[in-house]
């Protein structure tokens, strides 16, 4: 380094000397190491995601029964048969209705609670924990819990209200289509609001207090602060919540499978229940796969649209 005048003296020169072969070998070593680090993930993605995806695609084009296995290609029968199911359109309609209700109510409540508890005091941290606790419960377990609570025979709600003299007859939480829908919505909100509150809370805490201060100096009211500062700056968090909530609700299964089984009178059948029914009640994996592929494509399109819409206005 001392004798070589052709190179200008640099304060913090990157690694000296290695030229030619040694450098390339280091480079190669590094890329090998990189590949080695990425390999486990790649293998998992390949085995657990790509491969099943191809299998589902193949199933959807084949006559494939649950017990008989693959009986050869029959494309596009599985797809054309989909439309003959009398439950298809009602289940799509119901899934969309459920998604709309859950998304609007849950995200509103989650945002409200997030605003309430964003400052850290002892009281709000208790509240945060309380709202978040249901998220630690599996959805199926939560559904079973509510199944018990809602039951007119073994549930505690009816006797409690009766002893208070508020009702005479047992309340039928799952007995009518409307009641079943709202009872399930209540369960889902109880179970998931904490999670979305957390997502929004992180977003809220990322907003600099300076912005609010500047707003206040300009004489903005509380509502103006919320509308013109909080909401726009919270957009990324809201976008994330929206996408997660819509996708999750469109794929609703456990809660209805356990609470209502699609009843009463097929009023709460979701699209995923239809897939399950096709596979394990009709023993037709081909038909179930075809419906899965359609749902997957719809979700991909929907997510792209949501991403675009929420990003373009940034």
């Amino acid at each position: 380094m001392t004798t070589d005048t052709s190179t200008p003296p640099v304060a913090a020169r990157p690694e000296p000397a290695p030229r030619g072969r040694p450098r390339r070998s280091l480079h190669r070593r590094r890329s090998v190491a990189g590949i080695a680090f990425a390999l486990p993930t790649a293998v998992f993605v390949l085995l657990l995601f790509v491969l099943p995806l191809f299998t589902v695609g193949q199933m959807s084009l084949s006559e494939w029964t649950l017990l008989g296995g693959n009986l050869g290609l029959n494309a596009p029968d599985n797809y054309s048969d989909l439309w003959s199911s009398p439950l298809l359109w009602p289940s799509i309609g119901f899934t969309l209705l459920y998604t709309g209700i859950v998304t609007v109510i849950m995200l509103s409540i989650a945002l409200g609670i997030a605003l309430l508890v964003q400052e850290s005091t002892r009281w709000t941290s208790f509240l945060r924990t309380a709202v978040l606790v249901p998220s630690a419960l599996g959805l199926a377990s939560a559904s079973l819990l509510f199944f018990g609570l809602y039951s007119p025979n073994i549930g505690p709600i009816t006797p409690a209200l009766q002893s208070l003299g508020l009702i005479d007859e047992a309340i039928s939480f799952l007995g009518t289509p409307q009641a079943a829908l709202w009872s399930t919505v209540f369960l889902v909100i109880w179970r998931f609001t904490g999670f979305y509150m957390l997502v929004l809370l992180v977003g809220l805490q990322g907003i600099s207090l300076d912005v609010y201060e500047a707003g206040r100096l300009d004489g903005a009211s509380r509502w103006q602060l919320f509308r013109d500062i909080t909401l726009p700056l919270l957009r990324p968090s809201i976008a994330l919540s929206l996408i997660l909530c819509v996708t999750g609700s469109l794929l609703a299964f456990d809660q209805f499978f356990i609470l209502t089984r699609g009843g009463p009178d097929n009023s709460t059948v979701t699209v995923v229940q239809l897939i399950y029914r096709e596979a394990f009640s009709s023993f037709d994996l081909g038909g179930a796969a075809a419906l899965s592929v359609v749902v997957l494509l719809v979700l991909v399109v929907l997510n792209i649209v949501q991403f675009r819409a929420l990003r373009s206005t940034d």
């Binding site: 377990s141 007995g175 009178d265």
Partner: protein, 437 residues
């Protein structure tokens, strides 16, 4: 389904993949262990009792009948060289698990199945033919015939009864007495059943006349079809490809239940009862009389004074739905002789008396209907005796047509009993369309 699934139905259905891995691992391990007989279908030269040479056998059962299967396996392992390794699978996952294992040639040596789904398995060749082996048993003719019939495919027999679950009438003697009814006189016709239910319901307060799973197609099949059979009616044709539900017998059954619903004789919650908790109502002691699975006899609280009777027809007669699980040897098993040793033992006097009867369950052999354990409890004799007269419907599309909570049968039942019975013909057409596929 059946009735026994109802106790566990609705339980957690998840960890699908995880469970599949575990199951695959279990099967793989079981595959490594022990050798055993060469296992050719007909039985051949190993004698009617099969081989007991220290073979390790894998076996699957669904959670609904876990208790009975575990009792069998424990007693067998304690007294035999062969060892059975039992894997219990969540009831709602069972079809999926068997289907996946069948595709991958990964079935265990022995597997039990809800009897109504057995035709699906036999027609796909999942079970080993055991016709000759069954015939070699001394008591072959006394084995409950309805399970054998359902497990017969193209004149070959593939399964034996594993657990028996019959639909029988339960009545609460204490409430009968309070209502001025004879506590020792259960209904002998369905009309009488309705009268007695109404009489008990008149007690008022928390007491109700009867109960049923109003959002559970399988429950209606299990508890109402026997009344049609008792009157000499049929619900399916012999091949199970067509429903004959448009009979006066079926209509009368619907009508009687519709009347009970209209008069508010049924305990609350029946409209949304999916079958998950329908057997939990009677044990509370506030329901007068209702049809339920015989497997719940042993689960009743000690202080409940109740009786058990056969299900009556509208006009009289008696019958029952013989549900429960059948068991067979997987066609892919290489240890058929050893597996048969287990099956033959489960049907023996020893197993039927010391395991089944002692646990308060219904025996699968008519010659053992009256035994030292059941004699102590007349309710069990009733159940044991009715088993021989009972029926099990057979159809390849049974689950899709009748058990599916979103299927046409449940819609028909709800229309007929909770509403005015409209759209009957349309539902019947839908059922036939499924059955004839």
């Amino acid at each position: 389904m059946f009735p026994n699934t109802q106790h566990t139905r609705g339980r957690v259905r998840r960890g699908f993949t995880g469970a599949a891995f575990v199951a695959a691992a279990v099967v793989a391990l079981a595959g490594c262990a022990g050798g055993g007989g060469e296992g050719q279908g007909g039985g051949g030269d190993v004698g009617p009792e099969g081989l007991d040479d220290g073979t390790t056998l894998s076996m699957w059962t669904r959670a609904a009948t876990q208790a009975q299967s575990e009792a069998f396996v424990e007693a067998y392992n304690a007294s035999h060289e062969n060892q059975v390794e039992l894997t219990v699978i969540p009831t709602d996952d069972y079809q999926a698990k068997v289907g996946a294992a069948a595709g991958a040639q990964n079935l265990p040596d022995l597997f039990a199945a809800d009897v109504v789904f057995v035709p699906n398995y036999t027609s796909q060749g999942l079970f080993t033919d055991i016709t000759d082996r069954i015939a070699s048993l001394d008591f072959a003719d006394d084995i409950v015939q309805s399970h054998i019939d359902v497990g017969t495919y193209e004149d070959r027999q593939y399964v034996l009864p594993h657990t028996m679950d019959l639909s029988v009438m339960f009545w609460n003697k204490t409430l009968y007495e309070q209502a001025g009814l004879d506590p020792e006189a259960p209904p002998t016709t369905l009309e009488e059943f309705a009268e007695q239910a109404r009489a008990v319901d008149a007690l008022g307060g928390d007491v109700n006349g009867t109960f049923f799973g109003g959002n559970c197609g399988g429950c209606a099949v299990f508890t109402w079809w026997p009344s049609v059979w008792a009157d000499g009616g049929e619900v399916l044709n012999e091949e199970g490809t067509e429903a004959t539900l448009d009979t006066p017998e079926m209509e009368s059954v619907f009508e009687i239940w519709r009347g009970l619903v209209a008069d508010d004789v049924v305990a609350p919650g029946f409209r949304e009862e999916t079958g998950a908790t329908w057997t939990g109502v009677f044990p509370e002691g506030n329901v007068g009389v209702m049809p339920m699975p015989s497997t719940t006899i042993g689960l009743m609280p000690d202080d409940l004074d109740f009786g058990v009777a056969p299900l009556p027809g509208v006009e009289g007669g008696e019958s029952t739905f013989v549900g429960g699980d059948s068991i067979g040897i997987a066609a892919s098993s290489e240890k058929a002789d050893a597996a048969w040793n287990f099956l033959a033992w489960t049907m023996s006097d020893e197993a039927q008396l010391e395991v089944v009867a002692q646990n308060g369950d219904v025996v699968a052999r008519s010659d053992l209907a009256s035994n030292e354990y059941s004699d102590a409890d007349p309710r069990l004799v009733t159940a044991n005796e009715i088993a021989a007269e009972g029926r099990t419907p057979k159809s390849l599309r049974f689950g899709e047509a009748f058990n599916d909570p979103n299927g046409p049968w449940l819609a028909m039942v709800r229309n007929a009993v909770l509403e005015d019975g409209g759209e009957f013909d349309q539902r019947l057409e839908e059922i036939d369309a499924i059955l004839s596929q």
